[in-house]
């Protein structure tokens, strides 16, 4: 038995509290009325207005057009997140497949070129990207929101490394079994990459979910607003003596946290299962 060291535990507990408290505070505060928050500050105990606040943010229409509900924003964010994650996985898997399994000139050069784009974050190329989308008349569309950010150096890199670790004999066995390039990809590589896909799905879903700058630029039509934008717009209502709806902002923030948490919980289980079960 290892000796229990009180000091170690104290540090761990403090660390856990440090990370958890803001989340708990947001959750608890969202169940109080805005006026209480304004006068008393944040809460660590549950209030009595929880149900109505959440119903309100999800269903009440707001925004300039008066058409945007929380639910719509949630849906939009969901479409962004899923579109990002699935699109990036599909695209980067195919890119990595080409890079690893097909012998063509400059494959390494191309790989490093893709890799180098990691050095150019979205913010650097946001104007040209915007220009392109604008000229293609893709502003205020889901296509415009999602497609320009799909090319993923990170994903391509991860899948490339993974494919390189798949034994060559598997490819050879598949060739003897009469599987062509497409069949090999679908029948062997895709199922083998499940764990890798789960890992990348987690990263990319959250990345897409948390996008703020790009949707802000790409969408002017409020029906394409995502949660991230919605939270901001709630706090912007400083009209006259009106108190900002802190409780609603907190409620939206909590709602915004739920899907990423769910994704992590679900896929992490799969991810770990995959790691412990497979032996290649």
């Amino acid at each position: 038995m290892q000796k229990i060291k009180p000091l170690d535990h104290l540090i761990l507990i403090l660390g856990a509290l440090f990370l958890c408290t803001p989340v708990v505070m947001a959750l608890m505060s969202s169940t109080h009325a805005a006026i209480d928050i304004h006068s008393n500050g944040l809460f660590l105990t549950p209030g009595s207005h929880g149900a109505e606040t959440y119903t309100k943010v999800l269903t009440s229409r707001g925004g300039f057009t008066g058409d945007v509900t929380g639910l719509l924003m949630l849906t939009n964010s969901m479409i962004m997140g899923l579109g990002f994650a699935i699109g990036k996985i599909a695209l980067s898997m195919m890119a990595a497949y080409a890079l690893v399994y097909f012998r063509f000139r400059f494959a390494t050069l191309i790989f490093w070129a893709i890799f180098a784009t990691l050095l150019l974050p979205l913010e650097v190329r946001i104007m040209p990207s915007y220009q392109v989308m604008s000229e293609l008349h893709l502003l205020n569309t889901y296509t415009g929101l999602i497609v320009p950010l799909l090319a993923s150096a990170t994903g391509t890199f991860f899948f490339r490394q993974f494919f390189r670790s798949v034994p060559d004999e598997l490819l050879e066995a598949a060739r003897i079994d009469g599987a062509g390039p497409v069949k090999f990809f679908i029948d062997v590589l895709v199922p083998l990459s499940k764990t890798m896909m789960a890992a990348i799905f987690i990263i990319m879903f959250i990345y897409g979910w948390n996008q703020y700058l790009w949707p802000l630029l790409m969408t002017t039509d409020e029906s394409f607003f995502t949660l991230m934008r919605g939270i901001k717009s709630i706090l912007q209502v400083w009209v006259g003596s009106q108190i900002p709806d802190y409780n609603e902002a907190f409620a939206l923030a909590v709602l915004a946290m739920v899907p990423p948490v769910a994704v992590v919980v679900i896929f992490q289980r799969m991810f770990i299962k995959g790691l412990t079960e497979s032996d290649k």
């Binding site: 004999e169 066995a173 003897i176 499940k194």
Partner: protein, 357 residues
């Protein structure tokens, strides 16, 4: 079922001036079990992979049956291959692993079902059909790999060191299973190994490769009894044949000044090959200083020196040995090789040829 013929087959990798495999000619009869054997890097796997279609053929022709297969895809060559690391699809059940090739060929469900069941019965894999490969032991995985080969009913089996990932005991039993299976199916087989024991026990004929070239082709016993070169001599047989510098004087081979056996060979330096199992303790023979003894139970291997040349002999007696033993050998068991080229000189033991057995 088909015969297999390799004509002047060679392989040169891009950028390398030296051929990895050169000028290989092998005619393999229908149903024959051929073992390609040689040290690592001798090109045996490359040769096998060329037959499989996994490597391009730089020179020469490979025919399976009457078909020239140089340009064909592996799947079209009608072969099946068993890999060293089994190369089973980890995400598929044993059943799906075996059925995958047939599915891709568009066989009907009934045929697939029947062939998989038949192979599973033959290989005693029936209880494991729905398991994933990771839930199987090494020997079972190897069997699944063989099952995958069997269900395709190919013209030829190709084995690429299939047993080297198994432990020693399992290797022996799997070796026998492979042999039995091949006999029963009567499928032409090409088997690559670096283990001379595996080669000896499995092969109908051995092909000994060295540096990408064929050193000798022959039945195991032929190769054992009449190795074509010093390379083959030192590779086939355990313990390895001792190769010593010797002189032929007046029709007698002399080792360090001691007469050993009569030979029909002009005087001059030769390389003398002696197998440990052919040497016997005889009074008045060549004296060997005993250096150390390996006790194996049924026999012991005595290592020692004649002059300053190392020599080994197998002794089956249990009597304690003196410091110097005197060795003799039957003239028929003396191997002579050209001192320069290392090729065999067919001069030993006139007029007695290889004794009948």
């Amino acid at each position: 079922m088909a015969h297999l013929s390799l004509t002047n087959v060679g392989k040169t990798y891009g950028g390398s001036a030296q051929a990895a495999v050169a000028d290989v000619n092998i005619e393999i009869k229908d149903g024959e079990f051929i073992v390609l054997v040689g040290p690592s890097g001798c090109g045996k796997s490359t040769l096998l992979r060329m037959v499989a279609g996994l490597e391009t053929i730089s020179q020469g022709e490979i025919r399976i049956g009457e078909r020239l297969v140089n340009q064909l895809d592996p799947a079209e060559r009608d072969i099946a291959m068993v890999f060293q690391n089994y190369a089973l699809y980890p995400h598929m059940s044993v059943r799906d692993n075996m059925a995958y090739g047939l599915k891709n060929r568009g066989e009907s469900k009934a045929v697939i079902e029947e062939r998989v069941a038949e192979a599973a019965r033959m290989l005693e894999l029936r209880p494991y059909l729905d398991r994933k490969p990771r839930a199987l032991s090494g020997g079972q995985r190897q069997r699944v790999a063989m099952g995958r080969a069997i269900v395709r009913q190919p013209s030829a089996f190709l084995f690429d060191e299939p047993l080297s990932n198994l432990d020693a005991k399992l290797r022996v039993s799997m070796r026998m299973e492979i042999r039995k299976l091949q006999r029963r199916l009567g499928t032409t087989s090409l088997y690559v190994t670096h283990d001379q024991l595996e080669a000896m026990t499995l092969a109908d004929r051995l092909v000994v490769l060295n540096g990408g070239r064929v050193e000798q082709i022959g039945a195991p016993l032929e190769v054992y009894r009449a190795p074509a070169s010093t390379f083959v001599a030192s590779f086939i047989g355990a313990p390895a044949m001792c190769l010593l510098d010797a002189q032929v004087e007046n029709g007698t081979v002399m080792l360090e000044g001691h007469a050993l056996a009569p030979v029909a060979q002009a005087a001059g330096p030769v390389t003398l090959g002696l197998r440990a199992e052919d040497l016997r303790i005889t009074p008045g023979g060549v004296p060997m200083r005993v250096d150390h003894i390996e006790e194996l139970g049924a026999q012991r291997i005595v290592h020692g020196y004649v002059g300053d040349q190392a020599l080994a002999m197998i002794d089956t007696s249990e009597a304690p040995l003196p410091e110097t033993v005197h060795l003799g050998v039957a003239p028929a068991r003396v191997h002579l090789f050209d001192a320069q080229s290392g090729r065999r000189i067919e001069a030993a033991a006139q007029p007695v040829a290889v004794p009948a057995e």
